[in-house]
Every structure is written in structure tokens, then in C-alpha cells.
Symmetry: C2
Subunit: 215 residues, 2 copies
């Protein structure tokens, strides 16, 4: 049985949040953190944090708190950040270019090898040292470079076609920004990155306020 | 007591997902949907879906399922999409431009009035009919147009300064793409839009697979 399969899904879903908070503490040169402090930063209860972290082994030191460095490394390992993954970005519009400039890949084990687009006017351009290639070359590129992940940043009308191309060429996972219902085979990891979650949360809270004011 | 305050936070956090799924069904001209079908699309259990939706009133029709149109409208209203909100985008780099081209604002009640940047080379340009203005004009603009929401798409070194400016000028909410720990007053709605969640999920699942293969 693997390390990870012993950890419930609910905890796994909170790991990225733990990872970011621990990284911020490391950047401030902190060595230890209490469950109360982590809980406060993450807007969780401290008892939940203690329960969550107890799944990863013993990182606590009485009266010091958790060893931030060890915990950060353990979570990075559980999340597979220590494993190298080749990625491409399909679509080199503004979002694709923003993705090329995202500086979070390296620490998470991702390497962005190329952008792809249909527009001859931008094929050949470079963004953050990543070249835009003709999308017709993508299938061969994916196979040759053993690309595991394709970020999908194309207009919705091209989304299904591009997803099919990526899957047929051998990618295992699609990081999908298109907000389009896509059909992908069962064995493909299809993650929809909904950029509008935040808009919904903000709207909800502003609504609460305006209700409170008018009550 | 308001409608919303009767609905638990956990359900509120699933509302954006329900909204998107219902919208997709509406676009396919569907009229009714079963809890089983919704549950399958959302990767939840059908009993959880039934419990969730029971909080919004009675939208079910025996042997037909839920009335999609009514449910969609109810959720939009709970999420405050029916209330108009003025927004600006701080930072007109690739991400800011991608945000200007996001077509999800109107149905959620947001109106993007302007982009702001420090770079004279892009001030005056238009993206999706939204003009880039000099960031020095932002405080007056926010006040004059009663801007409630600022999307923060600036480099991390400018993040705190821009957040302070927006808050001091009167915005109520910050939609934060900077992945920087920001200090904001308690009464400000500060939502971090973590674009790298998906990368973490993909990495986790790829890791699972590689473990399974080597076992």
C-alpha cells in the first residue's frame, strides 16, 4: 500500500493550501509553526489541522509546533512535485502567454516545453523563453518529448478538437481553462481550472453585506 | 433572517459548481435533471445533491427531476449575480488582458470598466473594448465609478502597494491572482484565486498512477 492511499481524499484536497502556507512561512525563515497559527491562516479549525497533519507522520515538537521544512517536503512528495513532468500549453493568446509566464512550475516539478497556436502571426514568437509552435506539429512533439500534461487555453469552439488531439497523441492529463464541457476518455486526468470561482465567492459575500445593510 | 443565512457554508461553496452544471444543461435545452445525473457530473453522491438542493426550496417534480431553469435562477440570485457590480483590473500584462477577455462577467453581474497599468507603452491600448488607463488615475476612478471589486493581476512586488491603493480608494473586494501573502483590513473581502490548484491535482493523480505501475 502506498503512502498516499492511506490519506483520505478530503485531506488530499487541502494539501495545496497547506503547501502554499508552509512555503510562505519558509520564505519568512520560520522554523516551527503551531496548529493554531496554520489554522488561522487557512481559515480552518486547529483540531482539523492537527488531525490532517497526523496522517503525514510525526512533525511536531512539544511546545515548538510543527517542523515547517519537513512538513513542506513531505507534502511536496505526496503531491508528486518531486517527479518531473513535461507540459505544453495549447493556445498562445493572452491566457496561454500568462501561463508561459507562471513561475510556479519548477517547484511543482513541471517543465513547459512549448506553446502551440494556429495563428501564423504569433508562431515563432517567444514568451518567457518558450516558443510558439504551429499546432500541426503538436502530435509529433507530444510523442517525441513524452509530454504528460497539456494546458488547454484555446477558445471554446476549438476546445474539444484540441483535447482530442492531445489525448490521441499521448498526454495523460488536461489542465483545462476553457470552461467548456469536454468529453475525455475515462483514463485521462481532466482537471477544470475554473477561474471564475473567485468571482462567485466575492459576489456571494457582497450580497450578504447588502442584505445586512438593508435589514 | 435572509435566505442565504439559512444555507450552510459547505453548500454555498458548492454553488458555483451547481451553477456551471445547470448552465450547461440549459445550453443543451434540457428542462429537468435528476439528482443522479447532477451528482455524476459533479462527482458527488446523489444523496448529497438531494440534501443540498432541498435547502433552496422545492424544484423537484416527481419522476421528472429538478426544474433546471428555476434552480439555475435561484442559485444565481443566492450568489448575488442579479446585483450589478463595477470592477477594474489592476495590471494589464497577459493575465490582466486575459481577464479583460473573460466572458463570464455579464451573467454574474460584473462590469469591467477599465484596466490600469504603470507602463506608458500600453496605457491607452484597448483589450476587448476595455481601455488601459494610467494607474495614477485609479483612486479617483474607483471613487467616481463606485468600483466595488479590483482584480489584482500585477507582479508580486507591486501587489501590496496596489491592494492598499484599491482599499484606500474604496473597493470592497480584491480578486487576487498574485499568489503573494497580502495584508488587507478585516472588512475587505480578499479572495485568492489560486491558478495552480489544478497543477497540484494533476501532479497528485499522476503520482498515484506511477506508484500503481511500479507496485
Amino acid at each position: 500500500m502506498s503512502d498516499k492511499s492511506q490519506i483520505p481524499d478530503k485531506i488530499i484536497s487541502r494539501l495545496p493550501q497547506y503547501y502554499v502556507q508552509l512555503k510562505r512561512l519558509l520564505e519568512k525563515d520560520c522554523q516551527y509553526v503551531s496548529s493554531e497559527k496554520l489554522a488561522e491562516q487557512m481559515e480552518l479549525s486547529s483540531s482539523l489541522v492537527r488531525r490532517d497533519l497526523s496522517h503525514f507522520g510525526s512533525f511536531g515538537k512539544k511546545s515548538y509546533g510543527y517542523d515547517i521544512h519537513c512538513l513542506h517536503e513531505k507534502i511536496a512528495s505526496i503531491m508528486g512535485f518531486t517527479r518531473e513532468k513535461n507540459m505544453i500549453v495549447l493556445g498562445a493568446g493572452y491566457l496561454g502567454r500568462a501561463l508561459a509566464h507562471n513561475d510556479s512550475y519548477e517547484e511543482r516539478g513541471y517543465q513547459v516545453l512549448a506553446l502551440f497556436d494556429v495563428d501564423p502571426a504569433i508562431i515563432g514568437l517567444e514568451f518567457n523563453n518558450t516558443t510558439v509552435l504551429d499546432v500541426d506539429l503538436a502530435p509529433e512533439f507530444i510523442e517525441e518529448h513524452e509530454v504528460e500534461v497539456a494546458a488547454l487555453a484555446v477558445p471554446f469552439e476549438a476546445a474539444q478538437k484540441m483535447a482530442d488531439m492531445a489525448v490521441n497523441s499521448g498526454v495523460q492529463a488536461i489542465w483545462d481553462f476553457t470552461e467548456t464541457p469536454l468529453e475525455t476518455p475515462q483514463d485521462i486526468i481532466h482537471i477544470e481550472q475554473n477561474m471564475n470561482d473567485g468571482l462567485c465567492k466575492i459576489s456571494c459575500r457582497l450580497m450578504d453585506r447588502s442584505k445586512t445593510k438593508t435589514q
